[in-house]
Symmetry: D3
């Protein structure tokens, strides 16, 4: 099984973090390949940036999807997820989506903990889009400056653990999700310092993707994720243009 | 007062329809200018296409926003609306948003009627994003072939009226929204053939935009629509890049 | 265009405040006339008082509606709004309704700030009736004594600004509505002291009413706001009795 | 125990129907007295008429509440219920409210069946006000002409039973409420012709009122139903005026 | 009328408390009999224990239901309520259910106050099952050690009153429910120390059960509470086995 | 990794079906063991039967949990799931839960299709308990006689496919779940006859359980699934009694 893990941010250092956790989580026989956005911003934090990152996801998939059994959009907030499910035949998994789906059997609700309050609206709208707001206890955010996104995990670990405890004690959180690709791998390190299960999102994404591939679902020919009707496309990246115009990968 | 009306589709013929209705609806002293996407598809019908159209909206606004008092995103589905509100200081109005806001005082709920069932998921997610699903009676769609998007209004008027009557009689709709920019102007033509008020979306957008400009709201320095933190941007259109990197229009 | 602005309270001094803001907000060519309830209480604060004020709205409209293009019920809480929409052919706008509709494009949610905790249940039920609770961040209330309702704005301005800031910082409010007709005009004065947009409700009502008149909606012959079936009426004000018994204005 | 049953309609013949069922349902030692509105309409069917009937409820209670242990508003739709709870110290029960509360332990949801589609919006808003929409399966209405409101029960019984069966089979209703005071007593007659429990609303009201009196609840001094602050009142019925101005019954 | 009050806990001392309040609340002519679980735990506090207690309710009812007009499950959380309604023909009332139904006409919402935070998830899921979460203001819990469940009422009365006041002041509670059978009778003692109505759950259960018996509802032959299809049963208590296998009481 | 798959029904033939699909789905290195309830009914269809089956799940787990890394409750409706998560340290997965979690990334909603309308209330309450009703398009049920539960799959396959197509075309379902352990394995057989992805629930359960084990979550010491407080237990199965009384497996 081959999984494509897409970082919709331009930061290669974050891609490396993701890749390490993804390979650690992968089952025997699962090959992981990673891709990094070559346009956009180093870390998505707003709706505007998510729109740009989401389009990059579509472009990367248009170029590479046919070599993979499933793909993972490795930014919490799942940019481009809906559109990718329309255009491509393989299962597509969002990092936020997989995190919350795997959190569900571990507690009656979950809190999302991350490093910047700027991310909160995007995360909240993502959970709402997934129809899972009923399971969301709270979103708790640091207000750390984000000058070094790759170093944020080491710098903020203690504060994030503290914030997780507040989510547990004040918001009744029963599972903690340390959200955001720059925090990949942190869950394992702090597991024993937090009173409830902590979901490692990248690992969760790999397991959900592996599970979906095992279920061997067909591409729908009905419903909102069936293939769009081909139509003219102007000024888009080559492979994406071809896909929109023909309904087929190049 | 100067309003910028943005068609996120590439079809100039649709822009012309929109412009005609917009100018008709504008108050004395309101100037209307229109812009058409130069990249993307002729009519957005899916989440993937909306993501592309939404990025065009951001690019066009980055180039032109400083000459206007407010802007209108003239595609039902409001592509790019959230991101635009973050990046720009002027009020931004979505065509779907304005339609439903003006529908609210005219009935306890509304139905959306349009020409292609392909649009339904995008429209439904748009209404949910606005937090107005509680007022949505139903979405009813023709399954007309959309080969000639500009001609669809003339070709389908009777079927759309019929569909509106079914929304009224079977779904209890108290207001009808004939949705989609290609239907601009149709509401007025069929007003007397439908038993409840019909909202002309482009006209509603102009009135909501004029109203917001009159209220003279400040750009928030708190909350999810405050200016994003400047950050590096790679490979984007020039004016948008400048805005993301500096927080200022070029 | 002629708009009738109805104060369902008996306090003429509040009507004057409303009138001043309404005239300031009106477009060229919009004429504003005001009416004050001659029965009831000086300021409505409870469900019981709203029921009395709502009946006054129906009586005033029965007498005067045929000279106007639209009417505004200028008490936050919108007393009599549903009934008025049944009985009359012109658009009827509620002060609360217009405030929240114009707040929607300015932030993902809004908080209502006002001068007396007694008002909270009535306001909350009003927002629920409009189906807009999903957009309501919080209601924050002073507990000021209300001996001089017309003077409350000057006396409490600083405390209201402070309360607005708490709504922003503690409840995540992205728009502030300074609610209640006695606060008419305050929004403009404090605009620059509050970190998010502040909606002036009376001005919003005028703009929504003007917008609806421009849309030229028909009186529905289907749905919950179609004309009621004529029936005998006993002991009611003359014009209202005539309307209920005949379905026509006198 | 003394219960006051208020018919907010002006039709004495309906009051008699209500009285008969109420007395039949009352426990030993429960005395029933009835009152009929002397202003308003013979049968309330709209929001406007409910507002008028609701004010009559307040007037009647202001005159007579001090001789009773509890009161029942005997029109489905519960006109004036919220206001009455503010102004009076005794428990006040709505006919719709009692019907749905007693329906809850008899099935996982209920349908409301009645004689005129005109009543549907008012009934639906009533259930929403009570926060019980989650338990509402459907509202099913005849479109019978309502020339003789007292005779409607005899004339429409068979059609109402048929409609109840459709609610059961098509909407999954597990309890039927034959709604509206003119149908008082019908539930007992058709009990064995309907596949699920049928709630007799007037009887339910008596049992809920008796239960509340037995629980001996205090008048709240906190919350939305505490006594309103006294304030001047102009042009209202004498006893109601006195109550609003002094906070005390005359 | 004969009512069976079932304590699904094994603590006879709690049954006695319940019995005393139940007899006090019963109308003339209502006979109360009580039953105590002979298997299970002394006080149910978790979902696992509720499942065990619920099965005991089914067993006790299978043995004794045919001598009674209605039954009450006298543990807040209503263990076994859904299953009991399927299997038996008489009305079955839950202690939590009756408490909240009688709380509804006394305030726009209610808070549940009890002695152990361990109970909170069970109580919350119970209210959600009843579809009444919209009326729930909060659940407030002591963290008292529960070594002597029968003595808990005397020991904790003051702290519970204090907690009730916090629910009123901080959560906006308009009715208080002192939840849990070990608190039976406490409501009456503290009634005057709490600013809003306090519902005595056992008394409420008796009044709801009496009311339902008076309404004389039929056993449904449609819907989710109709009699299950008989099927083989292995290893269950004798009377319950017989009922499942034949659809009839022994 | 060792997984315990528990059939809470007494039908060994169904256990065999489940076991076959589970072993097919398991990854290399995953060992599957199955257990069948020795008390209860051959197929659970009601809330009462689910309560009995749920207690069996607790008993079986109390005896065997310490030899396994995770357990699966292999009846759609997830009997005993909440209680099991309290009492045991390993991840517990419900068949319904896993089915819907894996359905989520495959479509914006799902429909549940099964063989008996008797199951509908139980399934619906299960989905509500999981907080996933927002994603549920519909539940569609045959009304097949269930004399031979093991043979039902072969007998009803065509009708179930037809029902799935109705869910897709009339309810807008984007994923189909063929629900109920007796249908284990059917999804694979009919995959190509249904226009949207079909989730095989037993396979989904194995993949979710494997994923959870890989995430290595801790037993919470906070929240609703922490270990209950030990307390006396009377008359229960030996191992379950020991667990409740000591908080430890025997």
């Amino acid at each position: 099984m081959r999984l494509l893990v897409i970082n919709p941010n331009t930061s290669e250092s974050v891609t490396e973090k993701i890749a390490a956790v993804a390979r650690e989580a992968a089952a025997n026989g699962t090959e992981i390949e990673c891709a990094t956005a070559h346009r956009g911003v180093p870390y998505i934090a707003t709706r505007a940036e998510a729109m740009i990152g989401g389009q990059m996801v579509l472009e990367i998939l248009a170029e590479r999807a046919d070599n993979f059994d499933a793909a993972i959009i490795a930014a919490f907030g799942d940019p481009g997820l809906g559109g990718a499910r329309e255009l491509f035949d393989i299962p597509i998994v969002g990092l936020a989506e997989a995190s919350v789906l795997m959190a569900c059997p571990l507690g009656r609700n979950f809190s999302i903990v991350s490093f910047s309050s700027r991310l909160e609206p995007w995360f909240r709208e993502c959970i709402a889009w997934h129809g899972l707001t009923e399971r969301l206890a709270s979103i708790r955010m640091l207000d750390a400056p984000v000058s070094d996104v790759a170093g944020i995990q080491a710098a903020q670990a203690d504060l994030l653990v503290e914030l997780a405890e507040r989510a547990i004690n004040e918001d009744g959180a029963e599972v903690i999700i340390l959200a955001g690709a720059p925090l990949a791998g942190l869950s394992t390190l702090v597991r024993d310092r937090i009173a409830v299960p902590v979901v490692e999102g990248v690992a969760a994404s790999i397991k959900v993707a592996e599970g979906l591939v095992a279920l061997n679902p067909r591409k729908p020919t009905s419903g909102s994720f069936r293939q769009p009707i081909p139509k003219p496309a102007t000024g888009l990246a080559d492979a994406l243009s071809h896909l929109i115009e023909t309904g087929r990968l190049k």
